[in-house]
């Protein structure tokens, strides 16, 4: 009996596997817990730090600033301002006289203020009209009202009674006008300066569609949105973000379309942004997204005003940041990232086919090398016999296993692409020659890769560039490498497993409360009309149901 039992004991390898089966999940469990706690701890610590830092800075302010009202004493005020501006070499102080007696000074930052406006509208008007000077026209007494109402032909003029406020405002592009005998300092705004012309977006090219793209100037961008048509319900709410350097941020939405809960949520997250400086909307994107561990972007960024307007009309919310042409759209679904505005401008049949093609290229971009590897290294039986003969013939001279071979090529392609972006334009074409000739042809001739792989890599690279959103392209390219490792590990089985993993991750992912792969899951038939296929407009009468819009109909039949 005992002998029988002993003879049925498993071998050591089975025991090892069993132990691993038990130990690994526990390890993974604690590992994931640890990662999560680390992440949450850090954010908690950060917020705590921020609150204490805020307290400290407040006390600092009290210490040296205090309330410093404008005294009305020209010399005193000017000297105080000069003292404050001592560390700002770009603050210019121009002193002049209005009329015979009234001394005055303008303070401005070079470059932030429109020079033309300054010279003609401010200085000229003051020197000529105010007090007359050599002119014979009647003298206007210099009072605040007269200055604002009669002398200065500038639209935006305000006044301040606080001296300590002045330098701060000057640094944002306002011109301060200090006049002898006035109790207030006039603040003339009109900061404009050099904004770029409206050009076609570089990152999202269209064959048919408006050529206008957003610029770095916030007011231009809001104007671009307004220019799409008279629309009272387009709301724009302004926020200031950044602790050390404040920037303007605008949340735009359609009042009678967008779900108010969504708007509130966006505003809540924007207000919670705690960052010393936000150079680009990518910062905002990463600070407000739902899941920062996911490889997929949960906020769409675009340079195209028409795309933003389209999203607003679907009940989404746009976020515009000063200083960047990239506008964010929330919430986003995965299908949106594979869509192009052109889908709506072209007729529905070709547009649908192109959209279908893009879904296909997304699949290709991730899985082609993985499928190649699993076929070559594991599942040879799935290749047609004639092709097997060709592949073996081409691979005979290759010394590497397929995963190494594919990695060599895929990494080279990624390097080429990255280098191509960074290189100055005149050298760009040289990259193509190097890439095409050396990597493509010479590597095959040198016998380190097989010609068949060149096709695979080329298809993958082209496919990843066919995806309209650049960020999605990066994500998919990154996933491609993971897929390759899965394939090298477990063959086609691993590839399928990876596919399932990605799908389950996508199914769980949410962007501002909207399921990432909707309308696929949760299944909403009505939204399928604008999903894989773009149905004719006649059928697309309703806005996306998943957005829970206030006004659900797009067109009145």
């Amino acid at each position: 009996m005992w002998k029988f039992i002993v003879s049925h004991f498993p071998g050591w390898d089975v025991v090892f596997q069993a132990i691993m089966l038990l130990v690994l999940p526990v390890v993974f469990y604690f590992l994931s817990n640890w990662v999560k706690s680390r992440l949450s701890n850090r954010s908690y610590a950060k917020s705590k730090e921020a609150s204490t830092a805020g307290a400290v800075s407040n006390s600092d302010d009290e210490e040296f600033a205090g309330e410093q009202p404008v005294t009305g004493n020209y010399d005193h005020d000017l000297s105080v301002l000069k003292q404050q501006a001592v560390n700002h070499c770009d603050i210019h102080i121009r002193e002049f006289t209005i009329g015979r007696a009234n001394r005055a000074a303008v303070l401005y930052v070079d470059g932030l203020y429109d020079k033309n406006l300054m010279d003609t509208q401010v200085l000229e008007s003051l020197m000529n009209k105010g007090g007359g000077g050599t002119s014979t026209s009647q003298e206007i007494p210099i009072t605040k009202e007269n200055l604002v109402n009669q002398i200065l032909p500038v639209s935006q003029v305000s006044d301040t009674g606080q001296l300590d406020q002045v330098v701060e405002d000057i640094l944002t592009g306002v011109v301060a006008l200090l006049v002898e005998g006035l109790e207030e300092i006039l603040m003339i705004s009109g900061s404009a300066g050099n904004s770029r012309g409206i050009e076609e977006p570089v990152s999202e090219g269209l064959l048919r569609g408006p050529r206008a793209g957003f610029t770095e100037t916030l007011s231009d961008n809001t104007a671009l949105l307004r220019r799409h048509g008279k629309n009272e319900s387009l709301q724009m709410i302004k926020f200031k973000v950044g602790e050390r350097a404040q920037k303007n941020l605008i949340v735009a939405y359609m009042r009678d379309i967008a779900n108010s809960e969504l708007v509130d949520e966006v505003i809540r997250r924007i207000e919670a942004i705690d960052m010393d400086y936000l150079p680009e909307s990518g910062y905002v994107e990463q600070l407000i997204e739902d899941n920062s561990l996911s490889p997929f972007q949960q906020v769409q960024s675009t340079e195209r005003p028409d795309r933003v307007i389209g999203a607003l009309m679907e009940g989404r919310v746009a976020i515009l940041l000063d200083g960047t042409p990239f506008v964010l759209i929330v919430p986003v679904t995965f299908s949106m990232l594979l869509q192009s505005p052109e889908d709506y401008y072209e007729r529905w049949i070709p547009a649908s086919l192109l959209r279908l093609l893009r879904f296909f290229t997304a699949f290709l971009a991730v899985f082609t090398p993985a499928i190649y590897i699993s076929f070559i290294s594991f599942n040879q039986g799935l290749i047609p016999t004639e092709l097997v003969v060709t592949i073996i013939e081409s691979r005979l001279s290759v010394p590497f296993p397929s995963i190494i071979e594919a990695l060599i090529m895929e990494v080279s392609i990624e390097i080429l692409r990255e280098a191509g972006i960074r290189l100055p334009k005149p050298i760009g074409p040289a990259m193509g020659i190097v890439g095409g000739l050396i990597i493509g042809d010479a590597a095959v001739n040198a016998g380190i890769i097989s010609p068949f792989l060149v096709i695979v890599v080329a298809v993958t690279a082209i496919s990843s560039f066919a995806i309209p959103s650049y960020s999605t392209g990066i994500t998919l390219r990154m996933l491609r490498f993971l897929a390759m490792f899965f394939a090298a590990f477990l063959g086609l089985f691993g590839t399928v497993m990876f596919f399932i993993l990605v799908c389950s991750h996508l199914a769980k992912l949410k962007s501002f409360g909207v399921a990432y792969i909707s309308p696929l899951s949760p299944f909403r038939w009505n939204d399928w009309k604008d999903f894989i296929f773009r149905m004719p407009f006649k059928l697309m009468n309703r806005r996306p149901i998943l957005m829970k819009t206030r006004d659900s109909t797009r067109r009145n039949k």
Binding site: Q17, F375, S377, Q380, T385, I392, R395, P401, L490, G491
Partner: protein, 394 residues
Amino acid sequence: MKRYVLVIFLLLVLLNLTGCWGIKEIEDQTVLVGIGMDVANPSNEEKQLAENGNSYPKKNRVTLTFQIIPFEMRQSSGKSDKSSNELYSNIQETGDSMFQMLRKMATRRSKPMMGHHVKVIVISEELAKRIEIDKLLKFVLRDNDIRPSCLVFISNSKASEVLVSNNSGEVPSLELAGLAENGSKANNVLPPKSLTKLDGIINSGQSFILQNLSSSSDEVAVAGASVIKGKNRKWIGSLSIREVLALSWIRGSVKGGVIKTYDKQGNVLTYEIISAKSKVKAKTSGKDISFQVSIRSKGRLIENWDTKEPADKEEFIKEAEGYFKQELMNMMTDTLHTMQDVHQVDVGGFRNHLRIQHPKVWRKVEQDWDSVFSRSDVKFDVDLIIEDTGSSVK
């Protein structure tokens, strides 16, 4: 959190279950495309190898011919000598265990055999007479390397001769597989039998037919069929092309093709089949089992060498129909004779009709069906209509 544990646990279970750990690169394997089975007859190389110590205890019963696609390292990419480079090569191995023989090849080739691409298995008639077919195919059916879609043929001559092609540029096994697929377009060729189908048939103990290959000095053709008796799973005879054609009429698997006959004067008459249907009715009365085969066909008169006869004449059409009917009847009666009297097996699918229509009777005669069928009565009823005479009446 519990879900995480569950998911990771399931993933790890999957990892442990796969067993795909060993990478086998495609170029490190020999592609096996065809297997031939012959009566043992060791080749010269084998004899020499055995003399020099490469032998093991065995009884020489079967000689296997492995058809592989050889690859040679190309010296330089510029010039590849295609002429010296054969597209395929056949290696022979004699012994008694099929699997042992396949594994023995590892001692003779630098790369292991990959069985995924085996397209055909050719068994010689001689071998099929001596050894039961299920014994020959047992290994192939159990092995999961060789695909169940692999086709099985019987060859009149030696299998090793069938697996040789004289027109270079073709791999014989691939050609054979193509031949069988292509052959199914003509109605005198059986649909090819794959291992999947064969597995079921052999296990059910019924008699069956396999496609026959006949080879000339430089060509191989699909011709007729071999009859394997269900009782002993051995080759007992063959059917001619005409008999195979008749069988496909009885089974109702005719998709197209022609019936050719001669009129009284010996002129050629050809009928092009547009549609053909067959219905088999099994009748039982007491111990007697009989079958009524009704065949309906529509077609056109495509050829008549009697040029004086106008083809649109009513009487002529009727007469022609009679000739074709007669030809079809003769064909089927002859085939029935071959089945019932010569081979005494049912390969026309009558067993299924009885099984479905009279299950109770079937259970009684199941064990001894071939002999019961040989005694039963089969009647034919042909209804053949010439619908038109093509685009020219003269």
